[in-house]
Point group: C2
Chain length 230, copies 2
């Protein structure tokens, strides 16, 4: 077998992907069931080792696709995990990536080192291999931080949505409940919403009003941020 | 010579440190002059290869100390750079760290692979080795983003300071000029400042008033953020 030789010992380099999926009601995360040791049959984040001829970004996309069939997800780099004993096989340093998508747009399917792949409710997770619970937790904090100062969540709703749907999204990501009037007042003050002259169809009475986001303001706040304290 | 063998090729793993220093007037960055090839005699960020038995955080602290003598700096992870040809020697992936300190508290001194180490004005930099100009740029954007929603900068001033000193800090980090009255109004609105019943001594007339920051509010805004748009 070919061996690769170096003058100094090298950690192995891997990636792990935290893909959150909003289903209109709650937040989910994409997990695989490991088909190989270590942690065989245990749940884990999709991921794997960086090939010598691919960038770390490309590796994240490749591993996500190979292990879950999920593709065309815009992932951002989260953090690099370099603790000494995070993998029982060897010293492995992992660059973690994260994304937040509409879960209904993706139908995961296990492949490669993953015997299964599926969405799991964030508040009902199996125990995870390696330090993946920690990685997931840091990814969750990142999206919770971002949704407070950037309008990241709006792409997870239909083009026209109700205030209740928007509030449900914020509550799912931030894991809390908001007062309806308070939430509505604060979000309207950001100028992000266009109130439409349309209501939800097929509702007998008190049909809720539809809204869309103001693309210009959305762009502006994506760049400069707001402070959404509720 | 001992060799280390692996079944698959591995990228080398390194760290690079972006240490910004505020000197009361402008922003500086800590650079070393490389004592070895590649890029011998070229300026670069302090950094080096991760040892197999140290965490990446420990590596960043060690390399900063060995190459510049600078120690006791709280660095945060910035981003991991994994482009294929960023180092002419080999595939090298680098985890970058950053910090913002009072430059007067540190007197850099070259060591190890660095023949020199010193502070350089951010607006008058030599050209840098590898992709270090890109790393520096991303670090700058990070602190520029943070100073708009967290009170990160206050530790760079004396315990009592004037509004002009605070404005100078913001202008140095954000690389722009603010209207004095506008800046003052916006920063006072954050509730971060205690106006003291003291003025700068040894000033003939119109001695500027001193202020300190409100620790309670500082703590609160460090956790929850504000949106400082000026």
């Amino acid at each position: 077998m070919t061996k690769f030789e170096y003058e100094f010992p090298r950690p192995a380099l891997a990636v792990d992907c935290v893909v959150f999926g909003f289903d209109g009601k709650q937040l989910n995360v994409l997990l695989i069931k490991r088909g190989i040791e270590p942690y065989k049959d245990c749940y884990a984040l999709p991921g794997g080792f960086v090939h010598i001829d691919e960038t770390i970004d490309d590796c994240a996309r490749r591993e996500l696709y190979e292990e879950t069939g999920v593709t065309n997800v815009f992932m951002e780099q989260l953090f690099t995990f370099g603790a000494l004993n995070r993998d029982p096989r060897d010293r492995v340093v992992s660059v973690a990536y994260y994304a937040l998508v509409r879960s209904e747009d993706f139908k995961p399917k296990g492949g490669s080192d993953a015997s299964q792949a599926d969405w799991f409710k964030i508040n009902d997770l199996p125990s995870l291999a390696f330090d993946h619970a920690e990685i997931l937790n840091i990814a969750k904090k990142r999206i919770q931080g971002q949704i407070r100062y950037k309008p990241i969540g709006f792409e997870l709703l239909d083009r026209k949505f109700t205030m209740t749907q928007l509030q449900t999204l914020y509550e799912a990501v931030l894991e809390c409940k908001f007062d309806r009037r308070n939430f509505s007042g604060k979000i309207l003050k950001t100028g992000l919403l266009n109130l439409l002259d349309e209501k939800v169809l097929n509702v007998a009475h008190r049909a809720p009003r539809l809204m869309s986001f103001n693309r210009e303001r959305y762009q502006e706040l994506s760049e400069h941020g707001f402070n959404f304290e509720i």
